[in-house]
């Protein structure tokens, strides 16, 4: 596919990819039209488009703007925020300290929560109980970070909300797998999920919970 000189915004992604959902939600929030190109991650071979646009990491999501690729979901969020700035709702806070805090938590989601939830879904028996405690502990930290705010961004839905909300599509999956209720363990986070799902852009992008649980069960060998 020759992307050079194209005026289109294209998002290359897989429907069940939480990192890609971030990009699509951000574009929805900004009201930016885009073309969606599905990359089937169930096929181990990457498409020529992905190999051309992201030769270093060979991963999705990729945002293609006027033929030029932007890669890595958090880098894409910052790009989207800067590219469509004046006259658009902003994602990142203005204050550098608040930006540092938001970035810190987004990286925590990527570096800790993502791995822990994968470990949790793959584990059985006693290990599962231990990892479940670890996962709940990490979610409680996010619960504390949210505090009494409506969103992680304060009164406004922002960068960290966009970064974390895709993971919520698996929350009922974790509950089924671990026999616990998120509403009891992390009540603020639970309320936050409902609040975010009421947003058009979020509900349009997040997949059906059953479908996403089924595909995770397949990937992680969950019985």
């Amino acid at each position: 596919m020759d992307m050079s000189g194209s005026c289109e915004i294209v998002v290359v992604d897989f429907w069940a990819n939480g990192f890609g959902m971030r990009v699509r939600i951000a574009l929805e929030e900004k009201g930016i039209m885009y073309k969606y190109e599905e990359e089937n991650l169930e096929n181990p071979q990457r498409s020529q488009l992905v190999l051309d646009m992201n030769p270093v990491r060979k991963s999705v999501p990729i945002l293609i703007d006027e033929g030029k690729p932007v890669c890595d979901s958090l880098a894409i969020l910052e790009y989207i925020d800067e590219r469509w700035k004046d006259g658009f709702p902003s994602l990142l806070p203005e204050d550098p300290y608040e930006r540092a805090v938001a970035r810190f938590w987004a990286q925590y989601v990527d570096n800790k929560i993502f791995d822990t939830q994968a470990k949790f879904l793959k584990s059985k028996g006693e290990t599962k109980e231990d990892v479940k405690k670890e996962l709940i502990g990490q979610l409680k930290l996010l619960d504390d970070a949210l505090g009494e705010k409506l969103y992680f961004g304060g009164d406004k839905f922002g960068y960290l909300d966009v970064a974390f909300i895709p993971f919520s599509s698996m929350f009922s999956g974790y509950e089924s797998h671990g026999s616990f209720k998120l509403e009891e363990e992390c009540p603020k986070l639970s309320a936050w999920v409902k609040r975010c799902l009421a947003r058009e852009g979020v509900s349009r992008v997040l997949p059906d919970f059953h479908q996403i649980y089924e595909i995770h069960k397949k990937w992680y060998g969950v019985e």
Binding site: Y79, E82, Y97
Partner: protein, 221 residues
């Protein structure tokens, strides 16, 4: 910098991540105090309070407010004191810089650690991976003098601190970066001529001694 601004860096002399932050501060002409942390012995109350989740250095306290994770700290420094700017001016350039900063953070130090932590076949595999990573970075730099293009920039700051440990990898891996990746070696030497880097570049021999001690602790010998 206004005299009522206070900067304190919680530091470990040998940490390449601390070096990274010190270079960023020097590029901006910022003065700061340091508090050396004995990370192997006992961490200070201030460190544990400032970075409760990870309890790691570096931590930059700006008027008492902590910023943690070295790359995050460099973003913070660049945004709070915008001149001279480290990140490129345009959004696309910024996105490429962020991409490479993330690649560097996920790959370089861990690949290097695999070299000094292993022996035999594992070591050979680790060496090969490390050199592959440097070659990818050479590709990113292209024909320019710096990752920032003609100017020393954000990605240069993110990466150059990590090279203080490269002598360690060369010694334990039995290779020379000058031979395997000459463009990369030339970039290191170019950066070391800058004041900000020269003043903060930890002596590789001291680092090598420190890692020798770590190897014993890890039971590698």
């Amino acid at each position: 910098m206004p005299t009522d601004e206070q900067l304190l860096l919680l530091d470990l002399w040998v940490s390449p991540f601390s070096t990274r932050v010190k270079i960023a501060l020097a590029e901006k002409g910022l003065s700061y105090e340091t508090q050396e942390e004995d990370v192997l012995g006992g961490k200070s109350d201030l460190l544990l309070k400032s970075n409760p989740l990870y309890a790691k250095v570096p931590v930059l306290l700006h008027n008492g407010k902590p910023v943690v994770e070295s790359t995050n700290i460099v973003y913070y420094i660049d945004e709070t004191w915008p001149s001279p700017q480290l990140l490129p001016a345009c959004s696309y350039g910024k996105s490429r810089a962020r991409f490479w900063a993330d690649f560097i953070d996920k790959k370089v130090f861990d690949a290097g650690s695999s070299i000094w932590k292993t022996k035999g076949e594992e070591l050979e595999a680790a060496k090969k991976e490390f050199i592959d990573i440097l070659k990818k970075l050479e590709g990113a730099m292209g024909d320019k003098d710096y990752f920032g293009g003609d100017k020393f920039g954000f990605v240069d700051v993110i990466l150059i601190g990590l090279t203080t440990w490269f002598y360690v990898y060369e010694k334990y891996g039995g290779f020379k970066i000058e031979k395997e990746c000459p463009k990369f070696a030339a970039w290191i030497n170019r950066c070391k001529k800058r004041d900000s880097v020269a003043k903060n570049y930890v002596d590789p021999e001291r680092t090598y001694e420190f890692v020798g001690m770590l190897r014993k602790m890890h039971g590698v010998e």
